[in-house]
Symmetry: D2
Subunit: 301 residues, 4 copies
C-alpha cells in the first residue's frame, strides 16, 4: 500500500524518512518545490502537484495530512477532496482541534470518503525513529492501516482509542498534561536556583533520570538542556503556546472540570510573553492610592 | 490620658494629627529630629528621646508603637521596656506578625507590662481622618483605651476581636483578602484592555462605584488612579508585597486551608518583580529539545 | 414614553416596580398569567400577549427584555421581531453573552430595528431601588432613553460604555471581578475559622465595613450573612456559576490574558459541586502504587 | 564495612534487603521486636537495642537512620548520640526537612560526629531493587560510603549534590515536582472522563508509556493503577500530603519564587480532605444575599 503524505515540514519530513526506512512506499507532497527536492534527495518520491500525488495512488487511496492545525488543514481538504473518490481514506496526523476533526469527518463522510485522526507524540525524534500514535477512526479503517502505523511507532506506542475525533482528543489531553509537567519541572528548578545551595542543575536532572519517581523523557530532555547550557544563560524564559494546552483548558471549562494546574501552566506561558502587565499597573496604582506606596515609574524600570 | 506615640513615619505622623485634632493629648517620638520638628510645627509635642517621652507620661503609661514590622518593633521594645513600670500598657499599632505579637506580649507580661495589638486599616487617609482598628488584648486593657480608639476610627470602625495577637491576626487576613480583591480588579481591567471594545477605564470604574456588586473603597481608588492617569501609562506593573499577604498564605499552609486566590495574587506580585524567569527558561529549553521550537535568544528579547 | 418590559422574573419584576415608582409608564409582559396578575396587583399594567404589549406602545417602541441569557432571549426575539417596525428599540437588560448581543444587534439592524444592551448590577435590591447599568449602543439610541435609565439607577450608576455589545462585555468583566473578590473573602474567613483565635465572624465583617481597605457592598453582605447565621451552619458550601465568570475566563483565554485569580475562583466553584474527583482518585492511586500509601476506600469515606 | 540501619519500616526494611542482597553487611535496629524478627527471618542481623547495634559496629561507625521525618529523627539522635564517638558517621536517609538537617549536622559536628543526608526516591520498589539517592555531605564522607551507596542505586541513580542539607533539599524539590506532575496527570484523566468519548483509561495510559512526551515512571504507574481498577471505582479521591510538597511551597514563598503549579497541587490535596468548605459557605451565602440565589441547605446535600 502506497501512502501519500501531504506536508513536508518539521514533522512530516521526518515521518516520510521513517516510513521510507521501514520499507513503506510513500510519496510526499509539498507546495514548496524546495522541500520536495530535499525529499527526493533522500531517495523518496515527491511532487508539488496534488493532482500528481493523487494520480500515483491506487484506490482506495491512503492520504496522510501533516500540516499545521486549523486553516491549513481545511485548505488542503478543499483542494484535495475533489480529487478523491468514495472509499478513499484521509488521515489527519497533525494537531487539529477535535471539533474540527468531527466536522471534517462528517463533511467527508457525505462524499463517502473515510477519515481518521492521529494524535502524534514524541516530537521530531519520535516522528523519525518511532512515535506514539493515538488513533481515532472506525475499526474497519484502523485495521486497514494498522500494520503501517505500528511500523512507525515504538513498540507499544500505537493505540486505537475511539471513533473519529478521539485520537486528537486524547492527544490534546496529552499536551495539557505535558504543560503541567513541564511547568512543575520549571518551578522546581527555579526554587533550586534561589536556594541556599549551589547545585549543578545538569547533575540533579541526571540523577533524577535514574530511579526517581519523576524520571521520564521530560527529565531526560531537561538534563540535555542543562548539559548544553548549564544555566540556560543563552535563552529567554519566553514560552509560546501552540494550541493544545489552551484547548485542554477550554475543554475543561466546557465540561466544568477544575484544572488548576493545567490552567496555571498556560497562564504562566501567557505571562512570559508579556514585558509588563496591565493588571500589575492597576494593582500598583491601587497600592499607591491607599498606602502611598511608591510605584515604579516607566522610565526607571 | 496622654498617649506616647513612637514612630512618626507615613502612618504614625497622620495618626498623631488625628489624635491631636480629636482633642487627645499626644506626645510623639522619633529618632529623627526632623520628623519631631515637623510634628511640633503642627502644634504637637514631640521628642527624639525615649527617656523624655516616658518621663512625660503619667503611670500607668499608654505607649503606642507605630513602626515597621519585625526588627524595628523589637528594637523599640528593647530600649523602651527598661524605662517602663508594671501596669503600663504598650500598644503595637503596626503590621506585626501575630506570632511576634504573642511572643512580645508574653515577654512583657513577665514584667507586668500590658500589651495590646491593633491592626490598622484604611491607609494613610484612614490614619488621618478615621481608621478601621482591629484590636487584640484583654477586656480590661481594651476598656481603658476604648474611648480614645473610638475617636480615631470612623463610626463602626473599632472592634475588640480577641486576646493579644487577635488584632494582628485579623489584620493579616484583611490584607490577604485585599490582595485577592486587588488582583481580581487588575485582571478584569486587563481583559478590558485587550477586548474588542475601546472602553474608558475611569468611566467603567466610576459606574462600578455606584450600585454595582463590586462597589467599595478599592473601586473608588481604582477610579482615582485612572482619572489621574487614564491608561496608567506612567507606571510599571511591578507590585511589591509588604508581608501580610505572604503571612496569610503561610498561615493557610500551616492550617491546611486551600487558598488558591490569595496565593495566586501573591505569586503574581512576585512574578511582577522578575524581568525573566528561570522556570520559563527551563520550559522554553524543554520545548526546544523535543519539538525543535525555537527559543528566544537572550540578545533578541 | 411608555416602556414594554418582557420578563417578570426575579429581576424584571423588581425593575417594573422601580420604573413605576419613578413615575415611568411601563407595561409588563410574561407568558405566565400569574406573574402578570401579580404585577397588576401592584398597580402596573401587564399582559400575557406579546401582540397586546406591542399594540399598546407608540412608535418608535421601547421594549426592554429581562429574561434568562441564551435561548430564552432568542425565543423572545423570534416572536417579537415580526411585530416590530423599523425605528423601534429593543433593549436586552439581562446577562447575555456579548457575542450573542453582537449577533442579535446585527440581525435586528437588517430590519431597521435598534438594539441596546444593558448590563445590570446590584442584584434584586438594585433592580428595585437603584441599579448600576452599563449600556452598550449608539449615541443616538442612548440619548433617547438616557433619562429613563438614569431614573432607575443610583446616582452615578449609569454609563454608556460603548457601542452594541460593550454593555454586556463590561458586565461580564464586572462579574469576573466579583467572582475573584468573593473567593478572596471566602478564603480569608476559612483561615480565620481554622485559626488559633475564636473570632466572631459577624463582628469581623462589621468592623471591616467601616474604614478598612476592603470595605464595600460585598463586605456589607458578608456581615448580613453572618448576622443571620453566625457560623453559616445551615448551608452547604456548594456554589453554582451562572455564566459570566466562565465567560470572563474564556474571553481571557481567547485574548491570551493570564487570569489566575478569576480562573481559580471558577474552578473552586466547580470543585464545590463535586462530591469526589476523578483527578483525586488518580493521584491517590498513584501514591498507592509508588509509596504504598493506603488509599481511602470508597466504603470508608 | 558494616552498616547499622535504624528503622525497619516500609522503606528501611526494603533497604536492608537491598543491602543484604548486594552482599553488604548490615545490622538492623527497630524498637519493635516483631520487625527485628522479620528481618532475622530474612537472614539479616537485627536487634531492638541501640547499645547492641552500636557495639557491633567498628569505629568509625556508619549508621543509617530511616525513620519518619521530624520528631522521630530527633528522638533517635537523642538516644544514639551519647553512644557514638568522634569520627562516626550518621546518615539520615529519610524525608527530613533540610533545615532540621542543617541543625542536626551542626549539633553533631560539635561532638565530632559526621552527618550526611540522603534524599531517597523511587518508592518502596526503589528501596528494594535500586533507588535514586541525592546525597548531601562533605566530599570526604561521601567518598567513604560512595561504593556502598552506588550499589543500592540503579545505575546513574547516585549523586553527591552538595554539602550537608543539599540532599534533603534536592529531594524536597523532587517531591514538589512530583506533586505537580501527578496533579497534571489527574486533571488530564478527569477531562477524559467527562469527555464526549468513552476511552479506556488503561489503554490511554499504556500508549502514553511508549514514545510520548509524557512517558515516564508516573505514567507506568498510572497504567498499573487503571489496569488493577479500570475506573478507580474502589477508591476515594482523598489525597494526603506527607510534608515535602508543603515544604517546597513554603521554601518558594521564603525565596519569593512564584510556584503556581506546585501550590495548586498542594491546595487540591488539602481540598480533597475536606467534605465541605467554609469558603464555599461564605460565597454561597453572599450569592444568596445579593442575588437571591438559593443555597444548598445542609440537610439536602
Amino acid at each position: 500500500m502506497k501512502i501519500g503524505l501531504i506536508g513536508l515540514g518539521k514533522m512530516g519530513f521526518q515521518l516520510a524518512l521513517n516510513m521510507h526506512e521501514r520499507g513503506q512506499s510513500v510519496i510526499g507532497y509539498n507546495r514548496s518545490l524546495q522541500k520536495v527536492k530535499a525529499l527526493q534527495a533522500a531517495g523518496i518520491a515527491g511532487t508539488n502537484s496534488l493532482e500528481n500525488l493523487v494520480k500515483q495512488l491506487d484506490q482506495p487511496r491512503r492520504i496522510w495530512i501533516m500540516v499545521s492545525a486549523g486553516a491549513p488543514v481545511d485548505a488542503v481538504l478543499t483542494d484535495l477532496t475533489p480529487l478523491l473518490a468514495a472509499g478513499d481514506l484521509v488521515i489527519d496526523g497533525g494537531n487539529s482541534h477535535y471539533r474540527d476533526t468531527l466536522r471534517r469527518a462528517g463533511e467527508l463522510k457525505e462524499k463517502g470518503i473515510h477519515f481518521m485522526d492521529i494524535g502524534t507524540s514524541g516530537g521530531i525524534e519520535g516522528a523519525r525513529h518511532g512515535a506514539c500514535m493515538m488513533v481515532g477512526g472506525s475499526d474497519e479503517d484502523f485495521s486497514q492501516v494498522e500494520e503501517v502505523l505500528r511500523d512507525l511507532c515504538v513498540p507499544g506506542g500505537l493505540a486505537h482509542v475511539g471513533p473519529e475525533g478521539a485520537g486528537h482528543y486524547v492527544k490534546m489531553i496529552h499536551n495539557g498534561i505535558e504543560y503541567g509537567m513541564m511547568q512543575a519541572i520549571g518551578e522546581g528548578f527555579e526554587i533550586l536556583k534561589e536556594s541556599p545551595f549551589e547545585v549543578d542543575y545538569a547533575q540533579v536532572a541526571e540523577v533524577w533520570r535514574h530511579g526517581s519517581v519523576i524520571r521520564g523523557w521530560l527529565m531526560d530532555l531537561t538534563q540535555k538542556a542543562f548539559q548544553e547550557d548549564p544555566d540556560l544563560a543563552s535563552i529567554k524564559g519566553v514560552v509560546h503556546a501552540s494550541g493544545e494546552g489552551l484547548w485542554s483548558v477550554q475543554e475543561a471549562l466546557d465540561l466544568s472540570v477544575p484544572v488548576p494546574v493545567i490552567a496555571a501552566s498556560l497562564f504562566t506561558r501567557y505571562r512570559s510573553q508579556q514585558a509588563d502587565t496591565f493588571s500589575g499597573k492597576v494593582v500598583a496604582g491601587l497600592r499607591n492610592q491607599f498606602g502611598g506606596h511608591a510605584t515604579v515609574k516607566k522610565e526607571e524600570a
